[in-house]
Symmetry: C2
Subunit: 190 residues, 2 copies
């Protein structure tokens, strides 16, 4: 998506370890107008798929999911990263590793919010090695709901998480795929 | 706001310790259409205030803030609850206590996202004792940006955090204020 790629070039920056910082518009400060435009593109891509719910994981995924849901007219469910006193009843949980924070955590969703009548689109801001998406896919599978596919803002193609999921037959739509970062130059997949 | 009050009555439940569970539409599963309606009401309340940014705190505040921003045409900034490897540069941080999770944490915002040209609306899903809002207000004050007021989905009036802020002259608009919960009956402020 050209609008997003241009924004990554103009406003993104590269931190050590090929971490792409897009905190000025995607995951700290959020340009909601941009997110709504991204939502229109995802709606177009998944037209006719009758998605009922968007599943994401806290924290920065929530903004993307909420904007997409506003455009697509669906509900959002977000997985929590640890049990809280506000979670009750039956839950589905999945142990996950965060490379960004270098910690393990439990992703938790209450069972009642994913039913066998739901058609789920998984949404996140970033896709790198695919650990978070794998956990969300695992949760959807175990819930009995139907997974339609995934929609991600920025995929770091050189970490191959997205390609591994596609090889498994899972539909993954990324609005910008970065194939390489060399000497501070970002190259997008065509 | 009648729409929200009705939804709290029909879909909310009360957990031990007067914790109000609204996970089916506000902070685990999210009814984005409802949030957009709430955003219209907040837009009406703050008409003419020229708000440039909505400030909230992760995680469940992000959904409310994003929906309000979609309606009001503003940016969102969310405070992070701990330092992450993606935060760089100058930050403003504030030590905060969470009663829900019974833990202390740092709320962190990068300085560059709150400037003296910004007019800030602070948004959150819940207001109880007001600890989170106080920390966000402290961050806005120290950033040099101007605080316009606060907009909250559900205020637990019987914990008096909102009234203490109003006594200090801070504008706090809550879309539903619960004044008491007795024998499972929720009474709203008129």
């Amino acid at each position: 998506m050209e609008l997003l790629e241009k924004r990554i070039i103009s406003d993104g920056s590269i931190l050590p370890g090929n971490v792409i910082k897009v905190g000025s518009f995607l995951n700290h400060q959020i340009d909601v107008k941009l997110l709504m435009e991204m939502g229109k593109e995802v709606k177009r891509l998944y037209e006719g798929e009758n998605i009922t719910k968007i599943l994401t994981v806290e924290a920065s995924g929530i903004a993307v999911a909420t904007a997409f849901a506003a455009v697509m007219g669906t509900m959002v469910v977000f997985a929590k990263k640890h049990g809280t006193s506000n979670i009750s009843g039956d839950v589905i949980s999945c142990r996950t590793h965060s490379y960004t924070h270098n910690t393990d955590y439990n992703m938790v969703v209450e069972k009642q919010y994913l039913t066998d009548r739901d058609r789920i689109l998984i949404v996140d801001d970033f896709l790198a090695n695919g650990q978070a998406l794998c956990s969300l896919i695992d949760i959807v599978t175990r819930s009995g709901a139907q997974l339609v596919g995934c929609a991600v803002a920025i995929e770091k193609g050189f970490q191959h998480g997205g390609d591994k999921l596609r090889e498994k037959g899972i539909r993954v739509e990324s609005l910008a795929i970065i194939d390489s970062i060399e000497n501070g130059v970002i190259r997008f997949r065509r």
